[in-house]
Amino acid sequence: MKSQSRREFFKLLGLGGATLLASSVPAMGSEKGGVNNEALGMLYDATMCVGCKACMASCKRVNGDYGSLSYERAPFDPDGLWDAPQDLSGSTRTLIKLHKETDSRWSYVKYSCMHCQKPSCVSVCPVSAMTKDKVTGVVDYNKDTCIGCRYCQVGCSFNIPKFQWEKTLPQIVKCDLCRNTNLREKGITACAEVCPVGAISFGKRKELLAIAHARLQDNPGRYIHHVYGEHELGGTNHLYLSALSFEKLGLPNLPDNAPAEFSEKIQHTIYKGFVAPVALYSTLCFIALKNQKGQEKNGHKEEGE
């Protein structure tokens, strides 16, 4: 009888252990190998780009109405013949810039949302206006819930989300991989669709990584031997190849771990299951009530004396 109950106990223990393992394995999996290589992304090859800005024009044409984008005038152009944004802004989701190192050595660079694997903007948004699609990996913005606190801007290491400072009813502007426009209609982003030289590749992250590494292998002298975005901040779905240093192109030198992992770990440790605040409140209530009773007794005694 006794041995049997002991056997029962071990069985239970084993069972419990197994469930624990089973439940923790996928959790670990999602944390460690958490990179979703099936997610959609883009690969921008700075050595192929000719700086025609067709991507910029196409982006604004396709997303203009949906994303509340407008044309930005240059000071010399009162008639508004050109769209002349200086930087990513509340009217511009993607931008081509030229970096000139010397007269013969230069490179174009394209800016837009990096669509991080673990995006800070999604982690910090208090009202779930920034979301990350589980399947496509697209980091999208919903202006109908956004309160305009601009915490996403504080959080983003790439300074991508832009705010419409000059508007009475402003919103955040950032690339959503044409999720609500071109991607839905044609299955490709507007910028990648129109690029005449194939500098922007669109596809799943694993395909893009394969292309990037193949190019690095085939042309060893042409590139800096690094795929920007493969590991930066835990990986991004927008990847870069370049001949000049990425930092000079305005792509900051970043660590491999995502800031959101760090901040969420601390926040979750403090607020796990809301146990700590409840425990704090009940402990303090107990102490305060006891103190108040003691005080009332003392007070009455004093009055009596």
């Binding site: 948004c125 305009g148 606190c149 832009k162 901040s263 926040q267």
Partner: protein, 439 residues
């Protein structure tokens, strides 16, 4: 606050003083620019940019302002948790400043929010995003402001109970007779208000302690979360300030600022309203501060040593200078307060309290603005309009305090207080540390 209403008195005096009108001017200018902001957008009044999306409205009005408004929180810990009831006379004025600080921080947030009309989303569980420190801060601050109103309610009820409705009568005499109900109706209405206030007050007194404890729990949560807000800026905030200890540092920081502000405010209001300084209480309070700052400075320095940032801290460049300034203000103020002789001089009490508030406040500014570097090419310095909005909010705070201490019994009753003072000649046998439990 149960059954201690005789501890507080209403300040006699005119409401419309010279300073009232000076402050009112500032308030009006500030509100003019707030109007401009709502019509023309945030860019029209502020120098904030996509690199510096948070300016002084967040760094001062919210991050620093709520720390300065922590007097009520710090006093509640001291009185109700650490059981030092002789500080009780100071609590109402501390609560009133807290109330103003928090309500106006909330108001500043509504000026700062770009899409303020969507902020009802905080009450919709489907939109909650519990990973966000800001979500936690927002809910806690809203809850705490409500708690502060409830905590202050006894003073309001007392005034209603004891009012003779003279102002109301004057107003009704001034208005057109058609607009005013007849005398009997008015009297019976007043009587009803008085009776319900008298009915409510003892009942509120009984349950008030639960709200007071809530008023200790909530700031513990959101003051630490105000530090957590900047945890995400790992690549932007200078390593002198970016650390996993940000929540703890912000929490301790707000408590010592809280005590310092109670001291400063007492001295200022005693001088301004020509009242006796609550001397014994303040000397006792000032004894707690250096112990808190010692803990804070140890965590601060220990963390810098652990992360190998000491060399950066002593480099005397831009960031290092601001770090050293913050450090010297807090450390210097605390050193002085360790001396018993200094603690007994109102002048030195005032100077040290100011140093601690400036140092502690600068720490928050450093975290939110000065140590924040989004990358090359971004600069921020507040615009005139932006500064005037903040100045208007601060003016409104002081104005409100000035008026309300003349309307409600807020300030300590000097007679009652004097009796207390003689009963305990030696300032306070306080155990050194007053950190809240359960961090």
């Amino acid at each position: 606050m149960a059954g201690h209403h005789d501890e507080f008195i209403r300040l006699e005096g005119k409401i419309f003083t010279k300073s009232f009108f000076v402050l009112l001017t500032l308030v009006i200018v500030g509100f003019y620019y707030i109007g401009v902001r709502y019509v023309k957008g945030i860019g029209a009044v502020s120098n904030m940019s996509d690199g510096y999306p948070w300016g002084i409205w967040i760094a001062y009005d919210v991050a620093t302002g709520t720390a300065i408004a922590c007097g009520g929180y710090a006093m509640a810990i001291l009185i109700y948790i650490r059981n030092h009831w002789k500080f009780h006379p100071l609590i109402r004025s501390a609560l009133l400043t807290s109330l103003f600080g928090y309500c106006l921080a909330g108001f500043s947030v509504m000026v700062d929010l770009g899409r303020y009309w969507n902020s009802y989303g905080f009450f919709m569980p489907a939109r909650w995003q519990i990973n966000s420190a800001m979500f936690e801060v927002a809910l806690c601050v809203m809850a705490y402001s409500t708690v502060l109103v409830i905590e202050f309610l006894p003073a309001v009820l007392w005034s209603l109970e004891n009012s003779r409705g003279e102002t109301l009568r004057k107003v009704s005499a001034w208005l057109h007779p058609r607009l005013v109900p007849d005398e009997a109706k008015l009297a019976s209405g007043l009587e009803w208000v008085r009776e319900s206030a008298a009915w409510l007050r003892p009942r509120l007194d009984k349950v008030l302690v639960f709200f007071i404890v809530l008023g200790i729990t909530l700031p513990t949560m959101h003051q630490s979360s105000l530090g957590s807000l900047l945890l995400i800026a790992a690549t932007k905030l200078n390593p002198l300030w970016h650390t996993g200890f940000l929540p703890l540092l912000f929490l301790i920081n707000c408590i010592y600022i809280g005590y310092a502000i109670v001291i400063m405010e007492s001295i200022i209001s005693s001088t301004a309203f020509k009242r006796e300084i609550e001397f014994q209480e303040l000397a006792g309070l000032s004894r707690i501060i250096p112990w808190l700052t010692v803990i804070w400075l140890s965590v601060r320095v220990g963390d810098l040593v652990y992360r190998g940032q000491v060399a950066n801290a002593l480099r005397f460049d831009f960031y290092s200078c601001f770090f050293l300034l913050e450090f010297c203000l807090v450390a210097g103020g605390s050193m002085i307060l360790f001396s018993r002789r200094m603690r007994r001089s109102p002048r030195w009490l005032f100077i040290t309290a100011t140093m601690i508030i400036l140092g502690g406040g600068l720490y928050r500014f450093n975290v939110y603005l000065i140590g924040f570097n989004p990358g090359q090419g971004w600069h921020y310095f507040p615009s005139f309009a932006e500064l005037m909005i903040t100045a208007g909010v601060i003016a409104l705070e002081i104005l409100g305090y000035q008026v309300l201490v003349k309307v409600f019994p807020v300030l300590p009753n000097p007679h009652k207080h004097a009796a207390n003072g003689h009963a305990q000649d030696e300032p306070v046998g306080l155990p050194p540390v007053a950190v809240p439990q359960g961090k």
